[in-house]
């Protein structure tokens, strides 16, 4: 049985730019890692329900390339490309992925970190997906200022709801 939990972070990375969740699979870690790193296996489960993957290039080595064309039930193709950063068998995968626009140009990128932990013959899989952009980070001296403001980000989320319900936005 698979179990899962999910959370969209609003505090740590600010304004929900990160998605994280954990799921338990009733299979040994080596097998789960294999179906994650062999493109033939990957194509069998990647994507939402009723999607297929007519093109599935997935070179699970550090620096290895990724290109997947997902085909929706209506025949529409959703291309994505990316690159592996880390491959540590059988415990960790880090890769960057980006959905492509109509001209094949990557839209903003997402850094995906997948970890595989074994527990009593089952595999606990955790995935963190963080939106990354090309915007350079703020200068070092600004970094400390964020700390005092972090709590108010939660209030921001509440305010957003309020603003929407009063029609201010």
């Amino acid at each position: 049985m698979a179990q899962s939990s999910a959370s969209i972070s609003t505090a740590e990375n600010g304004l929900g730019m990160e998605v994280a969740f954990t799921r338990t699979f009733d299979a040994p870690r080596r097998l789960v890692f294999k179906v994650w790193t062999d493109p033939k296996h990957l194509a069998a489960w990647w994507g939402p329900h009723r999607f297929t993957n007519p093109r599935c290039e997935w070179d699970a080595r550090p620096g290895g390339g990724i290109h997947i064309d997902m085909r929706g039930p209506d025949g529409h193709i959703y291309p994505m490309s990316g690159r592996f950063r880390e491959v540590v068998e059988p415990e960790r995968l880090v890769f960057i992925s980006a959905a492509l626009d109509e001209s094949g140009k990557p839209i903003f990128e997402v850094l995906n970190t997948v970890t595989f932990a074994e527990s009593g013959g089952k595999t606990i899989l955790s995935l963190t997906a963080r939106v990354i952009t090309s915007t350079p980070n703020a200068p070092q001296y600004l970094q400390g200022m964020e700390i005092g403001w972090t709590q108010s980000l939660e209030r921001l989320a509440a305010q957003v709801d309020k603003a929407l319900s009063t029609g201010r936005a």
Partner: protein
């Protein structure tokens, strides 16, 4: 993995604007109430031009709007793009959840095939 009818350009602008901690802090401050550039500059110990630069990025991304009053032109939070970005992330999460449903099923199929295979070998 899949974007459901999202406007990529504006979404990209939203994420870029949010990538900076100072700009996130400015938004957090504006969530409490509207504020002038002077009021926004104060806690950051930043120059007015530096704050103005951040505000321009936020304004271009549609995350804030500026009042028309000539003297203090209050800045105001606009929630739309934030909700849009949160919606994209929610879609992304759902895509993964569905993939994981399929992965779960696939692993069960592999297991069954393996059991079946080893039984056949025994006979």
């Amino acid at each position: 993995m899949v974007q459901y009818e999202m406007k990529h350009d504006s979404l990209s602008a939203t994420f870029s604007a949010l990538a900076d901690p100072t700009r996130r802090a400015i938004l957090a401050r504006l969530a409490l109430c509207d504020a002038s550039v002077t009021e926004l500059a104060e806690p950051f110990r930043m120059s007015m031009p530096a704050v103005s630069k951040h505000l321009k990025v936020l304004e271009r991304a549609g995350l804030i709007e500026r009042g028309r009053e000539a003297q203090w032109r209050p800045c105001r939070l606009r929630a739309g793009p934030l909700m849009h970005a949160a919606g994209w992330l929610e879609d992304y999460r759902r895509c993964w959840e569905e993939s994981f449903d399929r992965l779960d099923e696939y692993l069960r199929t592999l297991k069954k095939e393996k059991q079946h295979g080893s039984k056949q070998r025994k006979h």
